[in-house]
């Protein structure tokens, strides 16, 4: 809470919550990486990936992000309800 007074270790609940937030922080980076993958696909007339596959891949990543995001948001709400220590 106050600067300079944050304890070095947290109790288990706090610890879990913090790791959860780490995961939330990580999510956009994972998404950015996965959405950049198509750039590595081969291009050119013969070897190019068909658009239908690209659509399926891109939307699958999207759906994954949404579901994971929803799950994390749920967990976070639960953790915050239980843990009044809201220090970040």
């Amino acid at each position: 809470m106050t600067e300079g007074h944050t304890p070095l270790f947290h109790e288990r609940k706090s610890y879990r919550r913090r790791r959860l937030i780490d995961m939330i922080r990580m999510l956009p980076l994972i998404g950015a990486f996965l959405w950049a993958v198509p750039l590595l696909w081969p291009s050119g007339k013969d070897s190019a990936t068909p658009t239908s596959l690209a659509i399926i891949y891109l939307f699958a990543v999207w759906l994954g992000m949404v579901l994971l995001g929803a799950l994390l948001a749920r967990l976070l709400k639960k953790a915050e309800d239980q843990d009044p220590d809201r220090g970040t």
Partner: protein, 896 residues
């Protein structure tokens, strides 16, 4: 033309429906049961103004031209939303704690409340948004054209322009009605937000309907559609990596920086936890919105004749296959996308233009912010309304000038790149304490110039605003200043080129200028506030307000916030400080809170200046600077504790002194009252005794004289009875033994009755009463007779004590949070501060008993109101004596 008429009718019905929805929402919010208006779902849906007509029509066109590249526009915002913990959470927290009204306000507030910076940001935002508004008008008129079949008719230009004009005027009207209805301290607009949420559902539903029809109705199922996609012109994944990456970046940046997105995301946000839901729900919305874009594009290319405008496939596909109803739905979807964007964008921009350009000019033109007369809110609202009209008019003008020829996607991207210039300054402002105003100004200017030179001006075509020779040889003949090949690097995509150079030069200049310069104390203070927003839930104090007068502040606050809000705020703060009444101590804490409230209405820079005028100069105290310097944190904590303690002691002492004064006064009054009571009792007694003796002893009295004497005795006895009645009434009320006779009635009747009995009872009716009966039609369930007794007393007091000529009494009735407020304000000289403290005490009388009366009236009123579950109190700062009666609307719970 029959279809056109139907179309116009459908539009009008739809718009009327929106009006009704918005109106109902405003009404519900006003009556205090609008909780459902604010939910994570509504918040998420309101974010969907990101999906404008550009999404609805343009995405298909975009996909038909460049394949899957259109997805970048939705991937960027999805990443931002999913990564809410990084940026959005902080923005929303800052927005709420600093009462930010717009992105210009945020930036200006962060960099030392500099209005110059706010003006710059506002101008850039207007320039960046104008093409975008034009784009919406263009898409609506195009879709009208498709329907009316006048696409090919030569005379259709006139129609187009008038369609756009009608749409623009309608939208202006809607925005003005629901966006500037009241000057909300929080700058939140329930009606607008609900209307936008409804539009979000309409456009999603419409696009899904068309998509489902295309895939299963025309395409022959999922797998066949996928095969068709692969067989089409855009059947291979051929993506330019530079465009893919920079467009994702650009859309993410624009999502954060677009004034309208900032409005719904930060300003209209009601609770931080909504973000948690929106973080996944909004990406889901975007995903669904873009799901059927490619199938529609591919089948459109397949089925429709060569050369049809791909931007309109969403409409022309159902039309070409004879699905008029679906086409109509799709038209409505496009119409909603366009209208919601224009409404919010013009609302957001008008707040900025009004707060940062019009108001400062007006305030300096009228000479002095604090001493202005009249209600400033009218000026603010008027300037907002004019700004809305001006913003929409600019969009219309751009539409007329550009001729509406360019593809939707390219206009949108130019706009995006323009507002993305705010990104370095915005992120620098909330993550880096070293960012300075000079840096922000320099960075923004450079970024904007590069954007205009490399992207905006060439977009009109070479030779229009920028000559061919400049395009080929560079500015001033310098080869390294060619608009599309800076530093001689050729072959880049023009958009990628412009985005890369404008953003990177912007960032570089911003960074270096910040490093070199030295910020002012206020900048450093605000910097610490913004960057460490999670630690500082309380702001360090910037005002030393000993010289400030609470009453002056109240007068100013009432003019800006409105009487009700200002009074509530002052009362709340006074309570918090432990002072009774409406006037809190002008402590630095209070001034800070007041400034923040004011900035919700007029922007941070103006609010700061206005308080400064009353308080006499803002000061960044030594203590604040020490708060900025971390190394002295402990010392600061110690000294601030001491200071807080001494402040508290000073306050306690003040309260004690107040209490003591009151006690002394009370005792003096009691003595005075006792002698008054004995006097009052004695005078009638004396005459009763004298006249009854005359009646008893004199035998030669005529009948006339007997009648005269006995009626004197009678009158005096009545006077005595009345005095005793009052005393008895009071003691009954005080002991809580009163029986309430609860009835249901209308306020206006009670007031009518009270006024007639208060005024006709006396021969002297020089008092004029001003009322607004339309506001008084309030049904209530309470003891109406007792309430009327209170009113009669207050009106009678005004009649007795108001010393103005001609005397006037204004009665204002209003509703607030389930309570009825009735204010009685006269135009006399009011009640002095010392008297305000005691007028509700028993036996208190103002002045030297000039009007007779035992001084029990207000004490009885107070007791009655307490029994009815309400209150009556003195309202300072109204120009004359003013009393406020508060009564809960729900049946009072008194059981006594």
């Amino acid at each position: 033309m029959a279809t056109l008429n139907i179309l116009v009718a459908v539009c009008l019905i739809y718009v009327t429906f929106l009006f009704v929805v918005a109106f109902a929402a405003e009404r519900a919010a006003k009556q205090g049961h609008g909780g459902w208006l604010r939910s994570p779902l509504v918040y998420t849906l309101s974010l969907s103004i990101y999906c404008t007509a550009w999404t609805f029509y343009g995405a298909v066109g975009y996909a038909a031209r460049s394949g899957l590249e259109y997805l970048t526009i939705y991937i960027g915002p999805s990443l931002v939303m999913v990564g809410w913990w990084w940026i959005l959470r902080k923005l929303v927290r800052i927005g709420r704690s600093q009462r930010v009204t717009s992105i210009a306000d945020l930036i200006s507030s962060r960099y030392g409340k500099s209005n110059l910076l706010a003006v710059g940001v506002t101008l850039l935002a207007v320039i960046g948004t104008t093409p975008y508004i034009a784009l919406q008008l263009q898409s609506v008129t195009l879709s009208f054209d498709v329907f009316s079949g006048s696409n090919e008719v030569a005379g259709s230009i006139v129609d187009r322009d008038s369609t756009a004009l009608w749409v623009a005027m309608g939208l202006t009207l809607f925005t003005i009605v629901f966006g500037t209805r009241n000057l909300d301290v929080n700058e939140r607009h329930h009606g607008v937000v609900i209307a936008i949420a409804v539009e979000a559902i309409v456009k999603l539903f419409a696009l899904l309907a068309v998509g489902v029809f295309v895939v299963w109705g025309l395409g022959g199922g999922l797998s066949e559609t996928l095969q068709r996609i692969d067989a089409s012109e855009i059947g291979m994944w051929e993506m330019r990596g530079d465009r893919w990456a920079s467009l994702i970046f650009l859309s993410a940046a624009a999502f954060l920086c677009l004034p309208r997105m900032f409005q719904v995301m930060v300003v209209e946000n009601d609770h931080e936890s909504y973000l948690r839901t929106a973080s996944w729900a909004f990406p889901a919305y975007l995903m669904v919105m873009s799901l059927f874009v490619v199938p529609i594009a591919v089948l459109g290319l397949d089925i429709l004749p060569e050369g049809s405008n791909p931007d309109l496939f969403v409409l022309t596909l159902p039309l070409a296959t004879g699905r008029e109803g679906l086409a109509m739905l799709s038209f409505l979807g496009g119409f909603s996308s366009a209208t919601s964007m224009v409404i919010v964008a013009s609302l957001a921009l008008s707040t900025m233009v009004s707060n940062h350009i019009v108001m400062p000019i007006w305030l300096s033109a009228t000479g002095g912010g604090a001493k202005i007369s009249g209600d400033v809110r009218n000026v603010v609202i008027l300037s907002r309304r004019l700004s809305i009209a001006a913003v929409v008019a600019l969009g219309y003008l751009y539409f007329r000038l550009s001729g509406g020829g360019t593809a939707l996607a390219s206009i949108g991207l130019i706009s995006f790149a323009g507002v993305a210039q705010f990104l370095p300054v915005l992120l620098g402002g909330i993550f880096w304490r070293g960012a300075t105003r000079t840096g922000a100004f320099a960075g923004l200017s450079v970024g904007f110039l590069v954007w205009a030179f490399a992207l905006l001006l060439p977009s009109f075509g070479s030779g229009v605003l920028i000559s061919q020779s400049v395009m080929d040889n560079g500015l001033f003949g310098l080869a390294w200043l060619r608009p599309q090949a800076f530093f001689g690097i050729e072959g880049m995509d023009p958009l990628v080129h412009a985005v890369m150079w404008s953003i990177s030069l912007n960032t570089l200049v911003f960074f270096v200028s910040s490093l070199v310069g030295f910020p002012s104390p206020l900048e450093r203070l605000q910097g610490a506030q913004f960057v460490n927003v999670y630690e500082h839930s309380r702001r360090p104090q910037g005002w030393s307000g000993s010289a400030a007068q609470s009453e002056d502040l109240m007068i100013m606050a009432q003019r800006i916030l409105g009487a009700r809000e200002a009074q509530n705020l002052f009362e709340r703060e006074a309570q918090r400080q432990g002072v009774s009444g409406y006037l809190p101590d002008p402590s630095p804490d209070f001034l800070q809170i007041l400034e923040r409230e004011l900035s919700g209405s007029v922007g941070a820079a103006t609010a700061h200046a206005m308080i400064g005028q009353i308080v006499g100069g803002a000061s960044v105290s030594v203590r604040d600077l020490m708060a900025v310097a971390d190394e002295t944190a402990q010392m600061m904590e110690y000294s601030s504790k001491l200071e807080a303690k001494s402040e508290e002691q000073a306050r306690t002492a003040r309260q004690l002194r107040q209490a003591n004064e009151k006690l002394t006064q009370l005792s003096v009054q009691k003595d005075a009252f006792l002698s008054q009571v004995s006097h009052e009792l004695r005078t009638p007694m004396t005459s009763i005794r004298a006249f009854s003796e005359i009646l008893r002893d004199s035998e030669k009295l005529s009948g006339q004289e007997k009648v005269k004497y006995s009626s004197i005795i009678h009158d005096e006895a009545i006077r005595l009875t009345r005095l005793l009645d009052d005393l008895l009434d009071l003691s009954v009320l005080e002991n809580g033994q009163v029986n309430l006779n609860t009835q249901t009635g209308v306020l206006v009747d009670v007031l009518d009755h009270a006024i007639s009995s208060a005024l006709t009872g006396s021969s002297d009716t020089r008092l004029t009463v001003r009322r607004r009966k339309s506001h008084e039609v309030v049904h209530m369930t309470t003891d109406l007779d007792r309430l009327a007794q209170v009113f009669i007393n207050l009106i009678g007091n005004a009649q007795k004590y108001c010393d103005a000529d001609p005397a006037e009494l204004t009665i204002n009735a209003s509703l607030s949070q389930g309570q009825m407020l009735v204010d009685f304000i006269d135009n006399g000289s009011g009640i002095s501060k010392e008297d305000q403290a005691v007028i509700f005490e028993k036996f208190a009388r103002v002045g030297e008993m000039k009007a007779g009366g035992a001084g029990l009236g207000l004490a009885i009123c107070r007791e009655i109101m307490a029994r009815l579950g309400g209150s009556v109190s003195y309202l300072p700062g109204q120009g004359g004596a003013a009393f406020r009666v508060i009564l809960p609307l729900a049946a009072s719970k008194t059981t006594l």
